[in-house]
């Protein structure tokens, strides 16, 4: 946390101080200390459950449910402590103390705000029954709004001070999916409070079971997805051992395709599909004899046919994978050209599937900037020039533009299996060194003069 700027440090200190004030103010006003203690214990237990990587919008914080329930059971002061307890005593994640203190303070303030709204709306819902019903709905909504609004604003403050994204982008990104399920979960809190008071704590904890199960299942899902990515990468690497010049090519093409896709603003699931398509685009090369792949000089007609059959072979191999269906078109057509002189079908212009038009550019760029048996690698700048020169003839100009823009913004680096979720601006400038395996000490790859048209991988 030494990296915090002065402004950020001041902000954190202010929030922590405010949290302490709220806590000190609430402490003498607690009703039902034992109940509150029990709720705090539940909150701590919840926070120690594995924290799910929340790119999945429905992994709503369990602590939230307990904190709001505490507001309903023990009033304004209860919310402060139940909300803060989980964050403060959460030790298993190895979070630095500053972070924990900040989180505890901001939760305490949020809980306090929720509690004040609750008291202000005259809401004590002791021994809830059906006659309370339409009346409590606006109370619950208001409490939830107060809690999540304060919570979001406080977090947004620190994010703006420490991350380079604009506050507006963060707000837009964070709000839509985090707040909508919260309303429904507010009613769950209400139910938890009612169960706690009527049937005892055990039944209230029963309510957490589905939430815990959801969480662990999401965690399992994410584990499986990681394992899946790693397995695909390992198998592709094994294929690439056939031709040592193409080592890492598939992963870099996947990375390049993701760059283009994000620049185009494609939906997240499409970006994922494109990544797999890039990863697997050359898998059909397995059917091309190694000596043909590594041959220097002109290919004979049957040899060239063997090379040209690789997209079809890839399609044949991967055709049974259901979720790749859209990606398959990208794999099958990644050697088409805009002017219709490509293969396998000779499609023209926009008749070429979008995925293929993306992969074509990423593929060509990586081939140009890597060493080959018959030529050394080009520099990034000349490869970009070459892409621009061939736009419209060989490549879709929109894709070329997306690629060059993305390269100027984020640079070109070894794209591992783990793609950053957001385009993190930590990337080196566009002139960064390349991925090419030219470790022979040649400082800048020579530019090859005669490129009538850019050759793509093959």
């Amino acid at each position: 946390m030494t990296a915090l700027s002065r402004a950020a440090r001041t902000y954190v200190c202010a929030v922590v101080a405010a949290g302490l004030v709220v806590g000190g103010f609430a402490l003498p006003r607690v009703h039902g200390a034992w109940t509150l203690l029990g709720l705090c214990a539940v909150a701590v237990a919840c926070s120690s459950l594995s924290d799910v990587d929340s790119d999945v919008s429905l992994a709503v914080s369990l602590g939230f449910v307990v904190a709001i329930a505490a507001v309903f059971v023990t009033g304004a002061s209860g919310g402060v402590f139940a909300a803060a307890a989980g964050a403060l005593l959460y030790t298993s994640g190895g979070q630095p103390l500053v972070k924990r203190a900040f989180n505890a303070a901001q939760y305490a303030i949020s809980g306090g705000a929720a509690g004040l709204v609750y008291v202000w709306l005259d809401g004590p819902v002791k021994h809830l029954d059906q006659s309370d019903f339409p009346r409590v709905i606006p109370v619950v909504v208001a409490v939830v709004v107060a809690y999540s609004l304060v919570n979001h604003l406080l977090v947004l403050g620190i994010v703006c001070l420490t991350q380079p994204w604009s506050g507006r982008a963060m707000w837009k990104k964070a709000i839509p999916w985090t707040s909508s399920p919260y309303f429904a979960y507010g009613f769950l809190s209400l139910l938890m409070a009612a169960l706690w008071e009527n049937f005892g704590p055990a039944t209230a904890i029963l309510l957490l079971i589905p939430l815990v199960v959801t969480r662990t299942t999401f965690a399992n899902f994410i584990d499986q997805r990681r394992a899946y990515d790693a397995t695909v990468a390992a198998l592709i690497q094994a294929v690439e051992t056939k031709d040592h010049y193409t080592r890492g090519h598939s992963e870099r093409v996947a990375g390049g395709s993701v760059l283009i896709a994000r620049q185009l603003g494609l939906r997240d699931d499409k970006v994922q599909a494109l990544r797999y398509a890039g990863m697997l685009h050359d898998v059909g090369k397995m059917g091309v004899p190694t000596r043909v792949l590594q041959k220097q000089g002109r290919l004979t007609v049957p040899e060239a046919d063997a090379v040209r059959s690789h997209p079809a072979r890839g399609l044949e191999m991967l055709g049974d994978i259901e979720f790749l269906q859209e990606a398959l078109s990208g794999i099958y057509h990644h050697h088409e050209r805009m002017d219709g002189k490509g293969y396998p079908l000779g499609l023209k212009g926009m008749a070429i599937p979008e995925f293929a038009r993306v992969i074509m550019v990423a593929d060509a760029f990586d081939s140009m900037t890597s060493n080959r048996s018959y030529r050394p690698a080009m520099s990034i700048e000349s490869a970009m020039d070459e892409l621009v020169a061939c736009a419209g003839v060989q490549f879709d100009p929109a894709m070329v533009e997306a690629m060059t823009n993305a390269l100027r913004t984020y640079g070109w680096q070894v794209q591992g299996a783990d793609q950053p979720r957001l385009p993190l601006p930590a990337a080196p400038p566009a002139s960064a060194d390349l991925t090419s395996p030219s470790s022979d000490g040649v400082p800048a790859p020579r530019k090859v003069s005669a490129y009538s048209s850019v050759e793509t991988e093959s």
Partner: protein, 435 residues
């Protein structure tokens, strides 16, 4: 033939009509409250059944429908009105809703598993009956609906439902897939434990919360279960994608000309059937399947493919090296550690000369060794019975030294079964559907 009759829309319509008749008979005279509550729960069960999902291992589940049915069976009061549906009414309402949903599924071209639906009907009914039996014997005071003593009774009733469901499901799996009963019970318990507990908890909460909040309880409690269901669906999808991808990429060695076409898929089918025969659990079977699909991947490191791709003709040291290279590739993924070990040890003999059998040799490795050898041996003339007999004979000759006798016998049983059923070994699905 039987399956076709069982899945005919008329069957579902018949069930539905019978259940509807029962509902009308029971609700008549029971008052408008009973009717309204029955309709609401029936609708919820119906919708939940329409939104069913398939978990790994071809398990059709509909968490919302089941939770609603459990909650209905344990219902005591809806807000201020006492409504306790008799067990027969619970069965009728659930039967009606489920049949209607199955009919709709059928008309949309999807089949429903009548065994699963019947099992759930039975389990819920048993739980509801247990609940009523317990309530009649417990002294719950003047306001039973608000009594905390309801909770342990509900837990006991749900335990009855869960136990019955588990028992029937395991027996069903044991009969249909040939898994030994103990392994089947373990598999079912493992597969359904977490989702089952979420469903059971929601079912109890629906009954309890209906006492407190009346009708509002239903939407409030269904929402978390909906997210649970969503998370399970995502999980099942990635599992199935994973499996499809490994199957697809296992063809790498064939496309590259290293092994014969279809070898990996055939070996994995035979290996999984053999593994099930010797009583491996589902997790072990999945590892076995992945290892069998990728067992030849080490050959990618060879400069030139082995003639006909059969490692039988290669000296043991070379075979071991290929296996080690394959394990290395799999291990480089950073996951699938068990699979890598299985692949690594597939070339090890069951027993070395004058030494006891090696206990550390995974059963899966022994199975792959035998299955791969069998497939290589019959590849000359797969349709010829003599050739198959010769291949089994060669495996038996290598028994107690090269191959594990238990594995070879299990494999021989699998082969004779598939031959008598007229299906080629490849037609043996490793598990009924993507796991």
């Amino acid at each position: 033939m039987i399956a076709r009759v069982r899945e005919h829309p008329v069957v579902w319509a018949g069930f539905g009509l019978a259940a509807a008749g029962l509902v009308i008979m029971l609700v008549r005279g029971a008052g408008p409250d009973q009717l309204a509550v029955g309709c609401a729960f029936g609708a919820l069960i119906f919708v939940g059944e329409l939104a069913r999902i398939t978990l790994p291992g071809d398990r059709e589940v509909s968490p919302i429908s089941l939770a609603a049915a459990i909650g209905y069976g344990l219902l005591f009061a809806m807000g201020t009105t006492d409504v306790s549906p008799p067990v027969l009414l619970v069965v009728a309402v659930q039967g009606l809703a489920v049949s209607a949903a199955a009919l709709l599924h059928r008309l949309a071209g999807r089949s429903s598993n009548i065994d699963v639906l019947g099992r759930q009907l039975l389990a819920v009914a048993a739980g509801a009956a247990a609940f009523h039996w317990l309530i009649a014997r417990a002294n719950l005071g003047p306001h039973p609906a608000k009594s905390g003593a309801l909770v342990p009774l509900m837990v006991a009733a749900v335990a009855v439902t869960g136990a019955l469901d588990l028992m029937i499901a395991s027996a069903d799996r044991a009969i249909h897939s040939g898994t030994p009963l103990r392994a089947a019970v373990r598999d079912e318990a493992q597969a359904i434990a977490s989702l089952g507990s979420a469903v059971a908890a929601t079912g109890m909460l629906i009954a309890l919360a209906s006492n407190l909040m009346g009708w509002y309880a239903l939407p409030v409690l269904i929402l978390p279960l909906l997210t649970t269901q969503f998370s399970f669906r995502r999980y099942a999808q990635i599992r199935s994608t994973y499996r499809q991808t490994i199957r697809a990429l296992s063809k790498i060695t064939e496309v590259g000309g290293y092994v014969q076409d279809g070898h990996s898929i055939r070996v994995s089918g035979l290996a999984v059937a053999t593994g099930r025969e010797v009583g491996l659990t589902e997790t072990e079977l999945l590892d076995l399947e992945y290892a069998a699909l990728m067992h030849d991947i080490g050959q990618l490191s060879l400069a030139e493919p082995i003639p006909r791709g059969s490692t039988l003709t290669v000296p043991p040291a070379e075979r071991k090296r290929i296996a080690a290279m394959g394990a290395e590739i799999i291990r480089s993924s950073g996951t699938l550690g068990t699979v890598a070990v299985i692949v690594e040890r597939q070339s090890d003999p069951y027993r070395r000369n004058r030494r006891p059998a090696d206990d550390t040799l995974p059963v899966a490795s022994r199975i792959i060794k035998a299955a791969s050898a069998y497939d290589d041996l019959v590849s000359v003339a797969p349709e010829d019975a003599r050739c198959r007999a010769d291949a089994l004979e060669r495996l038996r000759l290598g028994m107690a030294y090269e191959y594990d006798p238990r594995v070879v016998e299990a494999l021989a049983r699998v082969v004779s079964r598939t031959v008598s059923s007229g299906l080629p070994v490849t037609a043996l699905p490793p598990l009924r559907r993507p796991i």
